[in-house]
């Protein structure tokens, strides 16, 4: 295990930024803290980095406590949202900073710096200054600066937020490749759920200072445990439901689920992919629905159905029009019961 945090609590005046948060990150993982702004994800990251102090709680790295250690004694490095490159130093000197501050011999520094610059494809820029680089290049310098120190853990605070959308997707993939190539533990903070799903080994979804759910991207996506998680990641169809004995009653009719929930009133979540068009009434979970909206997306067609405003996707060559009546099946295994 690389990083463990227990019972971390942090308030700023009257505002509780983190409420009793536990976290475990495994070695070699890319772990993402995902949530809207103000949920506490950056605060948690900074506490791990040593840039903030938790009010209560402890942090362990490889089993050893680092809670009381100052930032400059933790083998943890951070890539800041604004990159925080030193404007008065060349890129090479920026990268070398963390090694020089530890009084490592110059010869070693040069070798390591050149190696990482090559790996990040920055060799041509090494004698230039940060203000002469593009956003994406600056991000690479910030990462090189952190990685050259070979930390146990690399923390990234919304590293893509300053970049434009097209560049982002490309860089997300590169980031993941880099992490796997180096086999380093990364903790990433982001509000972008696409990013979280793309790069992570595991995700923790946070809101208002609490971790609502953690697990692999697939687990979070397929089996959200509450309304917020379901809606924050991907599109969710949420059906208010009532349980009568073993049957669930919703606006879309009577539905069967794999294992009946405990509650009497709650909700069911189903993703657009969990709804399928049928030529005729299916055996279970069939709904006769009316098409209310269609959105052509090039490689698929988004449709909205009545009842319950269900949203689904189908193949783009479908000739469905608004007002058509179709049979759809809500796949039993795609239905998730949540209770909030």
């Amino acid at each position: 295990m690389t990083l463990e945090a227990y019972a971390v609590h942090k308030s700023y005046g009257n505002v509780q930024a983190l409420k009793n948060v536990d976290l475990t990150v495994q070695k070699g993982e890319l772990f993402t803290l995902l949530g809207p702004s103000g949920c506490g994800k950056t605060t948690l990251l900074r506490i791990i980095a040593g840039l903030e102090q938790a009010d209560t709680g402890s942090v362990f790295l490889n089993g050893l406590p680092i809670t009381q250690k100052p930032a400059n004694e933790r083998p943890v490095n951070t890539v800041f949202q604004s990159y925080a490159l030193f404007p008065h130093m060349t890129n090479a000197d920026n990268v070398a900073f963390g090694l020089r501050s530890q009084k490592i011999p110059e010869g070693d520094i040069r070798t390591r710096v050149n190696k990482i610059l090559e790996m990040m494809e920055l060799t041509n820029f090494k004698d230039r200054y940060p203000d002469q680089l593009s956003g994406g290049q600056r991000q690479r310098v910030a990462m090189a600066r952190a990685l050259v120190c070979e930390p146990e853990l690399l923390l990234l605070d919304e590293p893509m937020s300053a970049l434009d959308a097209k560049l982002r997707t490309q860089l997300q993939i590169q980031l993941r490749r880099l992490q796997q190539q180096l086999n380093k533990t990364f903790i990433l903070v982001t509000h972008d759920q696409d990013e979280a799903l793309t790069v992570s080994d595991r995700i923790a979804v946070m809101k208002d200072g609490e971790v609502l759910q953690h697990g692999s991207p697939r687990q979070i996506y397929d089996r959200p445990n509450c309304r917020f998680v379901a809606q924050f990641i991907g599109t969710a169809n949420i059906l208010e439901a009532e349980r009568r004995n073993d049957q669930i009653i919703t606006h879309a009719g009577r539905l069967t689920v794999p294992s009946p929930p405990q509650w009497k009133r709650g909700a069911l979540v189903i993703r657009p992919e969990g709804i399928v068009l049928r030529d005729q009434e299916p055996e279970t979970n069939g709904v006769l629905a009316t098409v209310t909206e269609t959105f052509y997306r090039g490689n698929f067609l988004d449709i909205t159905l009545d009842p319950a405003g269900l949203r689904m996707r189908c193949a783009p060559h479908n000739k469905l029009q608004v007002g058509d009546k179709v049979w759809v099946e809500l796949l039993k295994d795609a239905l998730v019961a949540i209770d909030d």
Binding site: G50, L51, Q53, T56, A71
Partner: protein
């Protein structure tokens, strides 16, 4: 977890430290500068206030005997009855500072606008031309007026022809010369801040005003003046305050008979060796300056309201 306020650790810009360690470092950094100013300015300035209530001994030393004599002298109650000499000096300084500030402001506007309308490439040349006299030593700039106003040069000759002064005499020492010196000394102080406001002027508002008002004066008052008020007030303060305490210009150009507050104070700390009186006059200067600033602020606020 109980922690005393003083010793609790905290993280300051990434550094783990205690409040007391931070404060110690802060005090260490602040102390040399702070104590320098305290010892050589603030405390003596307070002593100055106290000194204004002290008595001057027979040989020019200070006797710490409380008296209001300095102030009564200032108000004119001397040994030989009442004479308004000192009050005249105070009033004169106030008036000169006020007139100087007003004329400088009036002259600064055309110049600032003129420069602002020049193309960007030549603008800094014109600004440099304003900055050069600004940075030139005041002693040089002031005695230079003695040269210009000397009897052999056209200006004095012209005044003699008009019969304003006897032929062959210079146009200084005189009140006129003092005004010339003051205005030319302080012009850049108004032009430069005013220019920075004028440069940022939103001309679209001015154009709109032209459409609204047929009277040019109203356009100026409504659209231009309010926008330039920040730079204007800086310039006015930078002129008025030093002008009130000016010593060199009246000394060179005003002669012995034309004294301003600055000359009076200099005399007390110099030849006359009457420090308590000098302190009282200094106090009066500070008070007058504050009053003048207050009046300027009121005028400025009135202009914003219009």
């Amino acid at each position: 977890m109980t922690n005393e306020q003083q010793n609790d650790t905290r993280i300051w810009h990434g550094e783990l430290t205690t409040r007391s360690a931070l404060r110690r470092r802060g005090l260490l950094q602040v102390s040399p500068g702070l104590f320098w100013i305290l010892i050589f300015l603030t405390v003596p300035a307070l002593a100055l206030i106290a000194l204004s209530f002290a008595t001057r001994g027979g040989y020019g030393e200070i006797e710490w005997v409380f008296t209001l004599e300095n102030f009564s002298r200032l108000a004119g109650y001397g040994m030989f009855g009442w004479s308004p000499d000192y009050l005249i000096i105070l009033a004169r300084s106030l008036w000169v500072a006020f007139v100087t500030t007003t004329i400088c402001t009036a002259l600064a506007f055309p110049l600032a606008f003129y420069i602002a309308r020049k193309p960007k490439t030549t603008r800094y040349v014109w600004l440099t031309m304003v900055i050069i006299p600004f940075w030139t030593n005041l002693v040089i700039r002031t005695y230079a007026w003695q040269l210009v106003l000397s009897p052999d040069l056209p200006i004095a000759k012209f005044a003699a022809v008009l019969g304003l002064i006897p032929a062959g005499s210079p146009l200084y020492p005189s009140e006129f010369a003092v005004y010339l010196g003051m205005i030319s000394a302080f012009l850049p102080f108004v032009v430069l801040p005013l220019y920075s406001s004028v440069e940022k002027l939103d001309w679209s508002l001015v154009e709109a005003a032209f459409d609204l008002y047929s009277n040019r004066r109203r356009v100026f008052m409504q659209a231009i003046l309010p926008q330039t008020l920040p730079g204007l007030s800086v310039g006015a303060i930078l002129t008025f305050v030093p002008a009130m305490g000016m010593f060199l210009i009246p000394d060179f150009l005003g002669g012995a008979k034309y004294m301003l507050v600055g000359n009076l104070i200099q005399q007390q700390f110099g030849k006359s060796r009457d420090w308590p009186f000098g302190a009282a006059v200094s106090l009066a200067l500070m008070v007058l300056t504050l009053i003048g600033l207050f009046v300027f602020r009121r005028k400025g606020e009135k202009m914003e309201v219009i």
